[in-house]
Amino acid sequence: MNIWDSFNYWVVMILMMNGLYILISQGNFIKKIIGLTVFQTAVFIFFISMAKITGATAPILKQATEQGSTLYSNPLPHVLILTAIVVSISTMALALALVIRIKQAYGTIEEEEIQHKDQP
């Protein structure tokens, strides 16, 4: 088994776990959101890597007559990730808006301090 066969996937897993670690370990909410973004992007890379075929080209047909003669990468994961990216920015905006409101209500965006304030 060639080591390059799964290299992309391993890098994706490392990136993903990096994002998850940020999400778990950091107390700052903005840092948590950044960790979530890293995680999301790792998933995007995973999908796009799966769509790739060696020697293939981008899924834009060259000539109507030449169809089938060239190899194209799979367009379906591209579509899924395209929409996922735009959805990720909107969820991120929503999360950041929540962070701003937490800052207004508590005066801090550190998780521990907020828990401290919530306890009577």
């Binding site: 897993m13 998850l20 840092k31 890293v38 995007f44 796009i48 395209l82 909107s90 991120m92």
Partner: protein, 323 residues
């Protein structure tokens, strides 16, 4: 790939949130170049516009409201590290069963993917496969995503646009937004650039059929031009050009276009989002339907992102006035 890893580790280590945001921007740009290498030009387009530009801007505006530095951690969360390592090891064990990277025989390429590649030109007449799959074959999905974006815009508005004044925590005054009018070079260059960016956005919008592009990318690019204008000339000048009320109307209008295309076909006795009722020739009908749907996507995405940015910078303004 190695650069990606390096940047991700740097993000984990950095304590200065501003540096983290900048690193995230670099990370997105690297991702976009990686997507180009992986043949996903449309995705790279979107990632460059969304990840490297818009998300960085939103994070920066949030940072200016919440402060630049995070509190140092008291103890190292060993438990989290163990969980992460275990999950990672399991996932990597899972990849050992994956088909080798780049092989054409992988299961993912055996189902609808090859159908799209071989049949979609004959059925839709659209050269860019990503556009035809996005707007025609998987129109339901895209409609759902569009509604998600619209909902997120509504949510941000609901959270941030309330008129009540809250007791404001002390913030770092040095990063308060000031219109950058005093920078002559920036002003002149951006004046020249903004029309070009807007033009490029329209090009991307209408050439989604023949090249990489489409409603999502065009919307983000269009919005980023307006955001640039806001940053250079101030929020008030931008609001004079496009008012928030119009943006709210437009973001709903895009969803309306998309759904009315669906309803039109429904009322004509076909399935929801079946474009064949729009014209006589099937290929022409597909073209029309895709164009209308992409138009709806573009309008909603552009106005929602502008709306989100305006509500963020409106927050900064109200705090700046209060001080």
């Amino acid at each position: 790939m190695c650069f990606l890893l390096l940047t991700a580790f740097a993000i984990t280590r950095a304590h200065d949130l501003l540096a983290t945001v900048m690193l995230l921007s670099i990370y997105s740009l690297l991702c976009a170049s990686f997507f180009v290498v992986m043949d996903a030009v449309d995705v790279a387009f979107t990632e460059a516009a969304v990840g490297a530009v818009v998300s960085t801007l939103l994070l920066l505006s949030t940072l200016s409201l919440t402060g630049r530095f995070e509190k140092p951690q008291r103890e190292k969360p060993l438990f989290g590290l163990i969980i992460v390592l275990t999950t990672g090891a399991l996932l990597i064990y899972g990849t050992l069963q994956m088909p080798p990277f780049g092989s054409a025989a992988a299961p993912i390429h055996q189902h609808v993917g090859s159908y799209y590649i071989n049949q979609s030109y004959a059925e839709t007449g659209i050269v860019n496969l990503v556009t035809s799959v996005l707007a025609s074959y998987r129109g339901y999905d895209t409609f759902g995503e569009l509604v998600v974006i619209f909902t997120a815009g509504v949510g941000v508005l609901a959270l941030l646009s309330s008129q009540k004044s809250y007791p404001i925590a002390p913030i770092d005054k040095t990063i308060l937004p000031a219109p950058m009018k005093q920078h002559h070079i920036l002003r002149v260059v951006s004046k020249m650039l903004i029309p070009l960016i807007l033009l490029f956005a329209l090009y991307v919008q209408f050439h989604g059929h023949t090249g990489p592009g489409g409603g999502f990318q065009a919307g983000v690019i269009f919005a980023s031009a307006i955001v640039l204008y806001t940053m250079i000339f101030g929020l008030q000048a931008a609001l004079d050009v496009i008012s928030v009320a119009w943006l709210k109307l437009f973001s709903a209008f895009g969803v309306l276009i998309y759904s009315s295309v669906g309803l039109l076909s429904l009322l004509s006795g076909e399935n929801f989002l079946d474009y064949s009722v729009l014209a006589q020739a099937p290929i022409e009908a597909q073209h029309l339907g895709t164009l209308a749907v992409e138009m709806g996507i573009g309008i909603t995405v552009a106005s929602t992102i502008m709306l989100i940015f305006f509500s963020f910078s409106g927050q900064m303004h109200s705090i700046g006035e209060a001080q």
